[in-house]
């Protein structure tokens, strides 16, 4: 893997730090007028999700990390692992539950998602920004109430619980923004 100098650090660059793959978030050049130049860098550890700050001497470098985002299809959960497939190559990957974390509540069989691979092993799974899921449980809707005021909790087929308007019925399919967990709209079948 190539190595990158602090001068090349920019948001999104994947590097190895303390043996973990990390993504640069922010890179600030700090230089006392007559003194040593530093780069104060904000970095996310891609394994733990933790964000740390670390200072480097300007010009120091870090090894690049072989981290790529791959669009995959979620296949199924065998109880121990979740299985994903690259649609073009039919190549399959299995993921431990701890890699998937919070994303599991948005994963429906056959849906597409992004799997982040580090040295060809899954590191993280992120859902699409928007998903369409069926409501399995919510209070019966108040027909005609389209005011949008208030709202009620609804449990979706994947287990996620989102707040929906009063008029939404059990069994309906809704569109949800997975970044905020917010209801967007009903989806006509």
């Amino acid at each position: 893997m190539a190595s990158y100098s602090t001068n090349e650090f920019k948001a999104g660059l994947k590097v190895m730090l303390d043996n973990d793959p990390c993504a640069i978030i922010e890179n600030e050049f700090v230089k006392p007028g007559k003194g040593q130049a530093f780069n104060r860098v904000k970095i996310r550890n891609l394994k733990t999700g933790r964000v740390i700050e670390r200072t480097f001497k300007s010009g120091d470098s870090l090894e690049g990390a072989d981290v790529v985002d791959v669009a995959m299809q979620y296949l199924y959960n065998d109880g121990e692992f979740r299985h994903f497939m690259v649609p073009d190559t039919f190549e399959q990957y299995q993921c431990e539950e701890k890699v998937i974390g919070d994303t599991s509540k948005w994963l429906k069989d056959q849906d597409s998602c992004t799997v982040t691979l580090w040295n060809d092993a899954p590191l993280a799974v992120s859902p699409p920004n928007f998903v369409e899921l069926a409501i399995v449980e919510t209070d019966p809707g108040l027909r005609g109430d389209t005011s949008g005021g208030g709202g009620k909790p609804a449990t979706l087929e994947t287990g996620a619980v989102v707040r929906v308007p009063l008029f939404v019925q059990p069994g309906e399919i809704i569109k949800v923004d997975t970044r905020t967990g917010e209801y967007i709209s009903r989806v006509k079948e």
Binding site: N7, E28, F29, V30, K31, P32, G33, K34, G35, Q36, A37, F38, R40, E53, R54, T55, F56, K57, S58
Partner: protein, 326 residues
Amino acid sequence: MPTEWQPTCSIELLRLRAQVFADIRQFFLTRAVLEVETPLLGNSCGTDPELDFFTTDYCAPPLQRTLFMQTSPEFAMKRLLAAGSGCIYQIGKAFRNGESGRFHNPEFTLLEWYRVGFTLPQLMDEIAELMAVLFSGHRALKPTQRVSYQALFQRYTGLNPLAFSLQDYCAYAQANDVPEAVSLCGSDHGLWLDFIFSHKVQPYLGESALCMVYGYPACQSSLARLNKDNSHVTDRVEVFINGIELGNGYYELTDAKEQGRRFDEEIAVRQQNKRPVTVKDQHLVSALEAGLPECSGMAIGLDRLLMLLSSSATINEVLNFPLHRA
């Protein structure tokens, strides 16, 4: 539609810059300080171990020689002082290679002035007066603070900046979320001071106020002279507003021998750190030998000053064409 041709600053900022230049010229005109201009291209350059310069080639075949873009107008201005110019100031460009960031552009604008017969405290009075003029009508400043480097360093870190204790410095770094300083700084006292000051002290200096820090440790003396009562500190001042370093001033070194020695030392450090080679400015040494009058000098980064006046978050917001659009 391409937009890359457009300036990154607003037209209003162009006007603010022009106003600041006019205010500065008026300020020095009333004080009988002479405006001068010195070359941007020189046959030599500052030897500061932490500054990198641009070079270019003079070509008039078969003649060819390397010229240096000046990192500061200091040497040329001191030669004018030695030649009897009296008090002088300059608004001009300076160039520092490799410096790009929120507060840095490799080409930037400096105000530099020298006051013959001024001590450092007198220079600090004038800095405060100039800042009051420049900020009036733009932004209110609280009363000016004057504090010694040692007092500040001790207040924010509990460490003594004048006496290096590797053990204390390492313990501080471990306990204050910057453990990387231990391996990064090693046993280099100057580097430790740069690291801790820039990370743990500077960000808190001069909240809506001009903060003048004087009495830098002797190992950070550069072109300042050592304090006559305490040789552990140097007659150097740095000024900050809202944690932003605005400028640097000295009670200037006039001893040619001492200057020659510091040049040699700095050139040796540059070689050791594999920095681009520079040559000693023999003209400056000769000027000091001929006699530089007792004087104090100050440099202020005008782009950063404009950032503060306009509450801009990045230097690009006050430059028309920063490096990537120049």
